[in-house]
Symmetry: C2
Amino acid sequence: MKTIKNDVQNIVRDMLQGFYFEHKERVYYDSKHHIIYRKDLGDIGQNVVLLSGGGSGHEPAHFGYVGDGMLSIAVSGPIFIPPTPEQILAAIRKADKNKSVLMVVKNFKADVDNFLTAESIALKEGRSVDHILVNDDVSIENDATFNKRRRGVAGTVFVHKIVGAAATEGFSLQKLKEIGSSVVSNLHTLGVALTPANNPTQTETSFTLEDHEVYFGVGIHGEKGYRKETFDSSEKLAIELMNKLKSIYRWKKGDKFAVLINGLGATPLMEQYIFSNDIRRLTQLESIDVRFFKVGSHLTSMDMKGISLSLLKIEDPNWEKWLKADVRVSSW
Amino acid sequence: MKTIKNDVQNIVRDMLQGFYFEHKERVYYDSKHHIIYRKDLGDIGQNVVLLSGGGSGHEPAHFGYVGDGMLSIAVSGPIFIPPTPEQILAAIRKADKNKSVLMVVKNFKADVDNFLTAESIALKEGRSVDHILVNDDVSIENDATFNKRRRGVAGTVFVHKIVGAAATEGFSLQKLKEIGSSVVSNLHTLGVALTPANNPTQTETSFTLEDHEVYFGVGIHGEKGYRKETFDSSEKLAIELMNKLKSIYRWKKGDKFAVLINGLGATPLMEQYIFSNDIRRLTQLESIDVRFFKVGSHLTSMDMKGISLSLLKIEDPNWEKWLKADVRVSSW
């Protein structure tokens, strides 16, 4: 697999410099710590600034969501490796000391360790910092085979949007953490790969697929899924993912949902919309009330061709309002 | 290559229904003619409505650009085949008869034939209709091998944006056609493929590439390029494309440009930004003044992994203003 890159050691720097050049009118780039942050961070009225980040290879997550109404600060690690505590601490320190910082962290062990280490140091510095753990991935069926931890995947982008919009209304750190945690407990994602991810910093992919195969339940770093099967149609993929999510939600007619259809990096938009149409039909057959529907490559896994389905059961009408609120970022 | 689809005959309908479900609060979908158009088309103040379209397989072009400040109407043909004159005529008729319609047409023979046939019928109906031909692709070197016609490719999206923003200021049909034509004559694009396009309605790709090869100058329907070579680095791709464009523009220090870096469908955003950073460095070495820089998968070629570079020499400061103007579409 060819990757459009130069020296593999500089992939993250090269990428962020490219992004910064496109958006330099409204963001700053800390090239030492690989942080993209709002230029107007010192002037924003809200009490809490939202920070997120993680390994690279998931673009546009997370720098594509930096801007008014979503994230204020994004910090990037190497490909599929979280930023260090030092990087994260530097990111927290971008905020004025009289502002609180709320971190949105995807539930992978290395991410959690590094973000919480940085948080504890920042707290000792007298800063007000807290975090939301996102664990929307429901793909892991078999505790004997896989780590039981539920991972944070594409649904994370809904957390950024909802909490980011709520933050502009001036809520406190504690209230925003409550909103985010409540969203997370109603948020579930399941994905399917048509090809493996290609990590240019490694020579082998973490799994292989035959030309005719798809793999349900894969993770965003090339983690293995729960079942391979022969690819048949978009509709069959949609049915598998919807049925698994139905078994978790046990929804009733008229239950309100937000839906995120997420391309995994090498999935043409045409195919994302064809799959979206199958999900539309299934939601109509189930008589669930889709209040918000979003399609695009939002949290990806390098060159992986594949797609994920995230559902959020809307328990608070404000969530819908915040999902639909205007925002000024590059990739929502 | 696996394509996320159902019955191949229904690919375009399935895709447009998926898009419509996502955006039904602000657009209508004519399922007979495969037209997406603004719901508020009857109420808009501007004198001229902008219409574009072409074959499918180039998403988000063109329906992703329908909305306030860009296109009012988009019409879709089958994969890599333009809409029929009947479809285009139906699209023109979506506009009120007292409004003028300006069509943005990519310069392929079949597209031009069909759009101009529809235009001539609409003129006979007493409608005010005109068109802009976009021919930004400069890849064809050898008249003996390739048709001499310069094709319309990714730069088309800049025409949509500039003329779409200008239209909101109330300009006449003739003036908008002049603006568009002037933009086109300063707009050039060159692309490179890392993999062929995959057309699910055909069994074979139009060209093949070895694992190590790239192909310069390919078209957006899998048309062959001008040279294959072994892939080396992002920087080498950037140098080849910039040098070719430099030979056309013969720019001077300080000349003002807008830049579009376009992913061809299966190109992860990370790689688009790495390439963007190489283009940034080359523009700085050349001392040209980049006033606007846009990165993303804007006009694609199905599953093709590859990238194109479009440059627009800014001859009128309004072009920069219109490129930067706010817009309400899904994919700008």
